[in-house]
């Protein structure tokens, strides 16, 4: 075979190796490695964080077992537990489910299904985006001003109570519920709606029987993730006076307890690690572990729901 030779060089070979040989692009490979490194560093941080917190918290959990989960707050390290924190957090999440979800989903339905592109709609949209960007601690101030200090409302919430906490966190997650639900509604193709209108259904009937069932998995996933957010949020609760240190609810009735002092699981993590790290550092790590386990469960549920019911159009 007669290879083309130019100045003693096999051109075909050079062209072939240049076209095929990825290995020549050392700089490109290095660049790709550098980019991958960013992700690997993120993963390493995650692993170190989990290992570190497990290392610090697991001994206490193993030693005390369920006692740590069922004990109340105490100034004695060997007796302090997180029962009241778990209870407070669950109550707050219940408020979020009862208040933020219906209002948020309703607002999303209005924006996606009813609203035309008017200045009013644009104002509402701008407001929701703005609310989503406000730091959570500012919601704590809103909570103080509205639910603790404003007398007509404070009479109902009982001031620095779990009711106040639940309402404040509900306001905090409301824009997230609206945005995720609106996204889920937008993903439903308009042909589904047109089919409903075609057989004479009204707008609400179309939403209820056609749009909502198809958007439900997406909305559900979004709301479950919101629950995780509500569970881990502590800054506004610290502002509106979740009890730090000792907390006694005594034998108060259910309603009294709702309007009385309270604490929440992430607030207890904060409290343990700021009060006296030497005595309560282990407690902070153990409470963090419990918190992470709960969040993992909730997020896992969201991913499961998404994979099980997600629909591609």
């Amino acid at each position: 075979m007669n290879a083309t030779r130019l100045g003693g060089v096999d051109t075909a070979a050079v062209v072939r190796s240049t076209l095929r040989g990825r290995s020549h692009d050392v700089g490109g490979r290095a660049f790709e490695g550098l980019l991958l490194l960013a992700l690997l560093v993120a993963m390493a941080v995650l692993v170190v964080l989990l290992v570190d917190i497990t290392r610090q918290g697991a001994p206490l959990l193993l030693e005390r077992g369920t006692d740590f989960l069922t004990s109340k707050t105490s100034s004695l390290p060997q007796r302090a537990g997180i029962a009241q924190g778990i209870r407070g957090s669950v109550t707050i999440v219940a408020f979020v489910i009862l208040i933020a979800f219906p209002i948020g989903i309703g607002a999303a339905i209005y924006l996606e299904e009813y609203a035309r592109d008017t200045w009013f709609t644009r104002v509402i949209n701008a407001n929701i985006r703005n609310l989503a960007g406000i730091p959570s601690i500012v919601y704590g101030l809103l909570g103080i001003a509205l639910f603790v200090k404003f007398a007509p409302v404070a009479g109902f919430t009982g001031g620095r109570s779990v009711v106040t906490a639940g309402l404040t966190i509900s306001l905090l997650v409301l824009p997230i519920v609206v945005i995720t639900s609106a996204e889920a509604l937008r993903a439903v193709p308009s042909s589904i709606r047109e089919a409903g209108f075609g057989v004479g259904a009204t707008r609400w009937e179309v939403i209820r029987s056609h749009v909502f069932p198809y958007a439900a998995p997406g909305i559900l996933t979004g709301t479950v993730l919101t629950v995780a957010r509500a569970f881990g949020e502590a800054a506004p609760l610290v502002m509106i006076g979740a009890a730090t240190g000792f907390l006694s609810t005594g034998s108060a009735g259910f309603v009294e307890q709702l309007r009385g002092p309270y604490t929440a699981l992430p607030v207890q993590v904060f409290d343990f690690s700021t009060a006296n790290l030497r005595a309560f550092g282990q407690h902070s790590a153990a409470a963090s572990l419990v918190l992470l386990a709960i969040l993992l469960l909730v997020n896992g549920a969201a991913i499961f729901l998404r994979n099980r019911y997600e629909r591609k159009w």
Binding site: D25, G27, G28, E32, L35, L37, A38, L39, A42, V45, L46, V48, L49, D52, I53, Q56, I103, G106, A107, Y110, L111, Y114, A115, V123, I124, N127, R129, L131, G133, I134, P135, S136, I137, V138, G140, L141, L142, I144, A145, L146, P175, V178, T202, R203, W204, G232, A234, A235, V238, M239, P266, V269, F270, T274, A285, S288, L291, L292, L295, N299
Partner: protein
């Protein structure tokens, strides 16, 4: 007989309007949803009002010279703004120094290099990281980042703004990565193909074509990240060591006070806010500053995001 039935069976406009009950229900439902959506305006107004109310009260009662003094010590009546602004900026800049390379690197890899399968495997790392509550990150910043990084390499004290900044940076990374990735993902394939057609390599295409085309979205990602870092609270409260106040400082190896940490310190522990004191209303003053800063950052980044959307 036949006349009457014919008249009855004729279709009129009334029949097309549907039953009145059904229409009334329709209107009621529409109004309910509208009220839910309009609530966002009410909440926004309430936030602005409550911040304004406390701020006015604070500025009326506090001597202006206390706002520009030696440090932030609410119990002694010293409310130096530059101390907490400097703390906030220092922590946010450190956070972005961590989040920018990590977030943009991850975004570029996921958008340009990763196959669909690796993407699906690696993306959850960022999602899990985004789900870490900030209290837990604060504890980690204090008990690991501070001793293993700040104290070991920078001979810092056990409470320091550097550890807090790194912790905040890790928390902000997933946000930066996801917004930047969306922006690069939105760059049309034809641009990449044109670049390959001219014989450029993948790296050249990524850096010289995709990156400039997505630059508005990337700027938006960084601004959003910065805004989140400015508002991040508990990491700094736990690891920054600012309880009880702080002198003006720009030293990342020592303790200091940020706006958010000053607020939690006022609400708990050492500076426990009592009743209607000046310290209590200073909460709203700092909150109003924080609100304005994050609002400005968010509005600007929104502009950049919209520019990306308009172009492609």
């Amino acid at each position: 007989m036949s006349d009457a039935t014919l008249a009855d069976s004729r279709l009129s406009l009334r029949d097309l309007r549907g039953s009145p009950g059904r229409r009334r229900r329709e209107t009621a439902i529409r109004r309910t949803f509208l009220a839910a959506a309009a609530l966002s305006i009410v909440i926004n107004l309430l936030i602005v009002l409550s911040l304004l109310d406390g701020t006015v009260e604070f500025l009326r009662n506090v001597d202006p010279s206390a706002l520009w003094s030696r440090g932030w010590f609410p119990r002694r009546g010293l409310y130096d703004i530059k101390t907490i602004l400097a703390g906030t900026l220092l922590v946010s800049v450190i956070a972005m120094a961590v989040a920018t390379p990590l977030g943009l690197g991850a975004a570029m890899y996921l958008s340009e290099y990763a196959s669909r399968r690796t993407r699906r495997r690696l993306k959850p790392i960022l999602e899990i990281l985004a789900g870490i509550p900030s209290v837990v990150m604060g504890f980690f910043a204090l008990t690991w980042i501070s001793p293993e990084i700040m104290q070991r390499f920078f001979s810092a004290g056990s409470f320091n703004l550097g550890a807090a900044g790194i912790g905040v940076g890790i928390l902000v990374t997933p946000l930066v990565a996801s917004v930047a990735e969306d922006a690069m993902h939105a760059v049309p394939h034809s641009l990449r193909e044109a670049s390959y057609g001219l014989g450029s390599r993948k790296r050249t295409t990524t850096l010289r074509i995709v990156f400039p085309a997505a630059v508005s979205g990337i700027v938006a990602a960084l601004l959003l990240g910065f805004s989140r870092a400015v508002g991040e609270t508990l990491v700094v409260s736990i690891a920054g060591g600012g309880s009880g106040g702080s002198l003006f400082t720009l030293d990342p190896t020592g303790p200091g006070q940020t706006m958010t940490a000053a607020m939690t310190a006022l609400a708990t522990g050492s500076d426990q806010v009592k009743g209607a004191s000046d310290a209590f209303s200073s909460l709203f003053f700092v909150g109003a500053l924080l609100f304005l800063m994050t609002l400005a950052l968010n509005v600007v980044s929104e502009r950049f995001v919209r520019r990306v959307r308009r172009r492609y």
